[in-house]
C-alpha cells in the first residue's frame, strides 16, 4: 500500500512524543528537579536526554578532562611542580611555558618562577598530566572558561594553582590511588632506613 512506510514513520514519532510526556509526568510538577535530571541521563530512559543548561548541569564523569591545573599541598609558594619541564616537552601543541626559578646567585631551584598555559592552544589531551612524574599537573573539569578577550585565556601560575583538596574533590578515585601509592612508597623507604640503621647499629 502506498503511504504505508510514511505512516509507519509517523507511528514512531507519535510514540516518541507520547513517551516523552509520560516520562516527564513521573516527575510532575518538578520536571526540572535533580532526580529527573539524573533519570534522564540513564541509558534506560525512554524520554528526552536533554537538560536545561545552564540552569541545570550534569555532573561530569570522574575522568573528565578539560584544562590542566597545578597542584600544591599546603603552600601555594611551594607547589608540587619542580619545573622539570616534562609537561612542556610532551605537550603536543607546545602550549606550556615554564621558567625555572633561580636563586640570586643563579642556582637552579626546584620550582617554577613562571608557569604559563595558553588555553587558546591547549587541546585538552591530558598528556601533561599523564607523564608528570610528580603528580603536580592535573586536568581540571571546569568547562566554563569562555572569555571576551584573548589574553584572558593565557593562564599564569596564580590562575593555575589549586590546593590538593580541590584535586581530591574532582578526581577522588585517582587521588586515593595516588595517595595509597605514596604511602606505600614512604612505608618501604622507612623500612629500608630502619633495616639500614639496624645493620649499622
Amino acid at each position: 500500500m502506498l503511504g504505508k512506510g510514511v505512516l509507519k514513520g509517523m507511528h514512531v514519532t507519535i510514540k516518541r512524543l507520547v513517551a516523552t510526556y509520560v516520562e516527564d509526568l513521573k516527575y510532575f510538577p518538578r520536571m526540572a528537579s535533580q532526580e529527573a535530571l539524573e533519570y534522564r541521563q540513564r541509558a534506560d530512559t525512554r524520554g528526552l536526554k536533554t537538560i536545561e543548561y545552564p540552569e541545570q548541569k550534569v555532573e561530569m564523569f570522574e575522568g573528565y578532562r578539560m584544562l590542566p591545573f597545578l597542584v600544591y599541598d599546603e603552600d601555594p609558594e611551594n607547589p608540587r611542580c619542580t619545573a622539570c619541564g616534562m609537561c612542556a616537552r610532551v605537550c603536543p601543541p607546545q602550549c606550556i611555558w615554564i621558567e625555572r626559578d633561580k636563586t640570586p646567585e643563579g642556582k637552579n631551584l626546584r620550582r617554577p618562577r613562571h608557569f604559563t598555559i595558553d588555553a587558546t592552544m591547549c587541546m585538552s589531551c591530558g598528556l601533561c598530566a599523564e607523564f608528570c612524574p610528580f603528580d603536580a599537573i592535573k586536568m581540571d573539569n571546569n568547562y566554563e572558561i569562555g572569555a571576551y578577550k584573548r589574553d584572558k585565556l593565557v593562564f599564569h601560575k596564580d590562575r593555575l594553582l589549586r590546593p590538593v583538596e580541590y584535586y581530591a574533590k574532582i578526581h577522588p578515585t585517582e587521588h586515593a590511588i595516588k595517595e595509597e601509592e605514596k604511602r606505600e612508597k614512604a612505608e618501604a623507604k622507612r623500612k629500608a632506613a630502619e633495616a639500614k640503621a639496624k645493620k649499622a647499629g
Binding site: 564523569f61 610532551v90 603536543p92
Partner: protein, 590 residues
C-alpha cells in the same frame, strides 16, 4: 635542510627476493631494480606495466590501489604505492619508484587507475612530484600559485620555530609569546622573494573546469536551445557537511559536469605529524574524522607497534576493538541521520540518531575523559582502564538499547516511500568503477563488493569474532544506507562477543615513554574505519619523531567517483549523493 640522523629506511638488499618480486622480474623485463621487505623498487618508466600486470593477472588480481604517497629522502624522492586485492585480501603489495630531486617526474597511473587521481594531485601539491599524463594536473589542497611544496623537508612555514618538537623556547626559560607576534605582518603568510602585488593577477579557476567540461560535451545543448550554466556550490553550504566546494555545470537542472574542490580545512596535518614526537600524534589523530574520533588512532598505533614489535595485552586489545566498534555504530547513526537532513526530513531522524550517539559518547567520556577528542590509544595499550560502572552501562547499551534503536530506525525510515523514491537508483556506482576509484567502506560494499579489512586483512583481534561482511547489490544511495544500517547490527554482534570474552588484566605493555624512539623502518598500518580504509604510512629514521607520516584518508578517496555518480541527476540529488558518501572534512583536507 633537515638532517637525517641515521639512514632513513632499511636498505639492506636481501640476497633472495620475495616470490612476487622474482615473478615480476621474470614477467616484466627490467622493471624490478631492487627488492626489500619494505617494498619492490621499480624503474619509473615500467611502473604502469607492472601495475597493470598485477591487476590483470588472475591469480594476483591486485585490483585496488589503496594508497599513493611520497617520501622526501636526502638524495631522491620516492613515490610509494600500496596495492591490495579485493578478491584475495591479505597484505598489500608495496611498489616504489624513485625520482631525482632536480626534476621529479613519475608516470601517472590515473589513466588506467582513476583511484590515483586525487592522491597523485596531493603528492604534486605537497611534495612537488609531477605525474606525466595526469589529466587534471593541479594542486589539490593549496591554491594555484602557492610557493613551494610544504612536505619537502626544506620548506618552512611562516610560524616555523624548529624542525622537531619539543621546542627549546618552552623550557627552562619559557616566556609566553603569541605566535603571530614573531612574524612580520602578524599573519601566517609569507611572500616569495621579489613578489610584487601590483603585477599579480588572480587565476580564473573556473575557466579550467569550464573548458574541460565543454571540450568533453561538445557544443551547447542537444536539440533544444539550452545554455549551460556554471554553478558554484559551497564552501559555505549547509549540505556539504563542512567546508567543501563543488563546481557544477548544469544543463537546465541536470548535472553535466562536476568537480570537487578541496583544501578549505587543510592544515597540513602531515607536516605537523612529522614535527611531533610519536606519542604527540595520537591526540592529533582525533582531529581527522571528528565524528568517529576514538578509532582514528587505531591504525596509527598499529603501524608504530609494527615497528616497535610490541603486542598490547589482551584486555587492551579488547578495549580497543570495543571502542572502534562503538565508534562505528556512532558514525553510522550520524551518517544516516544527516542523510535525512540532506533529503529534507529536517531534524527528526537526525535527533533520534544523535540521542543514541549521546549514550555512546558518555561511554567514551567515562573511559577516556573526553567526549570527542578521546586520545585513548597508546603504543602497546590504552591510556587507562575503564571505570567499574563502565561495563554494566555498556552491556545495557549493547544488549538492550542499541539493538532497539537500530530496529526503530529501520522501522522508521527504511520503507518510507519518499525516501525510497529519492534514493533508489540515485548515485549509481557500478562495482568495477568502485574498485577502480579506490573507494572503500560502505561505499564499496554498497556496490556489492565484500571487501572489509576486518576480514580481508584481519588486524588486532578481529579474527576472533563472528560477524558478516555486509554487502548490498543495489549500487545506489539506498544500498549504501542499508549497508550502514546492517553494519551497525554486526558491530553490536562483535561488541556482544567482546563483552563475553574480555577479562581482567593489564592494559599496557611495557612502560609508556614520552620520548619513544621507534626503530628505523617503514610500516603501513590500516584499519577499517567507519568510512573505509584508514591507513597510516610511517617512515622512521630511528629517532623520536616521524620522518614521514602519511594518512590515507578514506573520505578523500571515496570522493573520486563523485562526478560519475552525479552525472545526469539534479542538484538536489547531488546533496543526497554527497551526504551518502559520508565525508568528514577534517579527514578529506587534513
Amino acid at each position: 635542510m633537515a638532517t637525517v640522523r641515521e639512514k632513513p629506511a632499511v636498505e639492506t638488499a636481501k640476497e633472495e627476493m620475495s616470490p612476487l618480486a622474482a615473478r615480476l622480474k621474470e614477467k616484466c623485463d627490467g622493471a624490478v631494480t631492487a627488492d626489500s621487505p619494505n617494498g619492490i623498487l621499480l624503474a619509473a618508466d615500467r611502473l604502469v606495466d607492472v601495475a597493470t600486470y598485477l591487476r590483470e593477472t588472475p591469480d594476483l588480481s591486485y585490483d585496488h590501489l589503496a594508497n599513493v604517497t611520497s617520501v622526501d629522502y636526502p638524495d631522491y624522492f620516492e613515490v610509494v604505492y600500496h596495492l591490495s586485492s579485493t578478491k584475495n585480501g591479505g597484505n598489500p603489495v608495496v611498489l616504489k619508484v624513485r625520482t631525482d630531486k632536480a626534476d621529479p617526474v613519475v608516470p601517472s597511473l590515473t589513466p588506467t587507475w582513476p583511484g590515483a587521481d586525487l592522491q597523485e594531485r596531493e603528492v604534486w601539491d605537497l611534495m612537488g612530484i609531477r605525474f606525466e599524463g595526469h589529466p587534471n594536473h593541479k594542486r589539490i589542497a593549496l591554491w594555484e600559485g602557492f610557493e613551494g611544496h610544504p612536505l619537502r623537508k626544506d620548506w618552512h612555514e611562516p610560524y616555523y620555530e624548529a624542525d622537531q618538537k619539543p621546542f627549546s623556547s618552552r623550557w627552562p626559560e619559557g616566556r609566553h609569546v603569541q605566535v603571530e607576534d614573531r612574524t612580520p605582518f602578524n599573519h601566517n603568510v609569507q611572500y616569495p622573494p621579489g613578489w610584487d602585488p601590483d603585477e599579480w593577477e588572480p587565476v580564473d579557476e573556473m575557466a579550467d573546469f569550464v573548458q574541460r567540461t565543454q571540450a568533453r560535451l561538445g557544443k551547447d545543448g542537444d536539440g533544444l536551445k539550452t545554455q549551460r550554466v556554471v554553478v558554484n556550490m559551497g564552501p559555505q553550504h549547509p549540505s556539504t557537511h563542512g567546508v567543501f566546494r563543488m563546481k557544477l555545470m548544469l544543463e537546465g537542472e541536470t548535472i553535466v559536469g562536476l568537480e570537487p574542490v578541496f583544501g578549505y580545512m587543510h592544515r597540513c596535518h602531515e607536516k605537523i605529524g612529522e614535527r611531533n614526537l610519536w606519542v604527540q600524534n595520537i591526540p592529533f589523530c582525533g582531529r581527522l574524522d571528528y565524528i568517529s574520533t576514538i578509532s582514528n588512532a587505531f591504525p596509527y598505533v598499529l603501524a608504530v607497534e609494527e615497528l616497535l614489535e610490541v603486542t598490547p595485552p589482551e584486555r587492551a586489545r579488547y578495549l580497543r576493538v570495543m571502542m572502534a566498534e562503538l565508534s562505528r555504530i556512532l558514525n553510522h547513526f550520524v551518517a544516516i541521520g544527516f542523510l535525512f537532513n540532506d533529503l529534507g526530513a529536517y531534524f527528526t531522524p537526525v535527533l533520534y540518531c544523535l540521542e543514541e550517539r549521546e549514550f555512546i559518547l558518555d561511554l567514551f567520556e567515562m573511559a577516556s575523559g573526553s567526549r570527542m577528542m578521546c586520545n585513548y590509544y597508546r603504543f602497546g595499550g590504552v591510556t587507562r582502564d575503564v571505570p567499574p560502572d563502565f561495563m554494566p552501562r555498556l552491556e545495557y547499551l549493547v544488549r538492550e538499547r542499541l539493538p532497539r534503536a537500530i530496529d526503530e530506525i529501520d522501522y522508521f525510515l527504511s520503507e518510507n516511500e519518499i525516501f525510497c523514491s529519492r534514493s533508489v537508483g540515485v548515485g549509481i556506482l557500478p562495482p568495477e568503477t568502485a574498485i577502480r576509484c579506490s573507494t572503500t567502506g560502505p561505499v564499496l560494499r554498497g556496490s556489492g563488493i565484500a571487501y572489509d579489512l576486518r576480514r580481508a586483512d584481519p588486524y588486532s583481534i578481529y579474527d576472533r569474532f563472528k560477524f558478516d561482511v555486509i554487502t548490498e547489490p543495489g549500487c545506489d544511495v539506498y544500498a549504501r544506507y542499508l549497508v550502514r544500517l546492517r553494519e551497525m547490527r554486526e558491530s553490536v554482534k562483535i561488541l556482544e562477543q567482546a563483552i563475553e570474552q574480555i577479562e581482567e588484566g593489564p592494559i599496557q605493555e611495557g612502560k609508556k615513554l614520552w620520548q619513544q624512539k621507534v626503530p628505523a623502518g617503514e610500516a603501513y598500518g590500516r584499519a577499517e574505519s567507519p568510512k573505509g580504509e584508514l591507513g597510516f604510512y610511517i617512515v622512521s629514521d630511528g629517532g623520536a619523531n616521524a620522518y614521514r607520516y602519511h594518512i590515507r584518508s578514506p573520505c578523500l578517496l571515496n570522493l573520486t567517483p563523485l562526478e560519475e555518480m552525479c552525472l545526469g541527476h539534479k542538484v538536489a540529488d547531488v546533496v543526497v549523493i554527497l551526504g551518502n558518501i559520508d565525508i568528514v572534512l577534517g579527514e578529506v583536507d587534513r
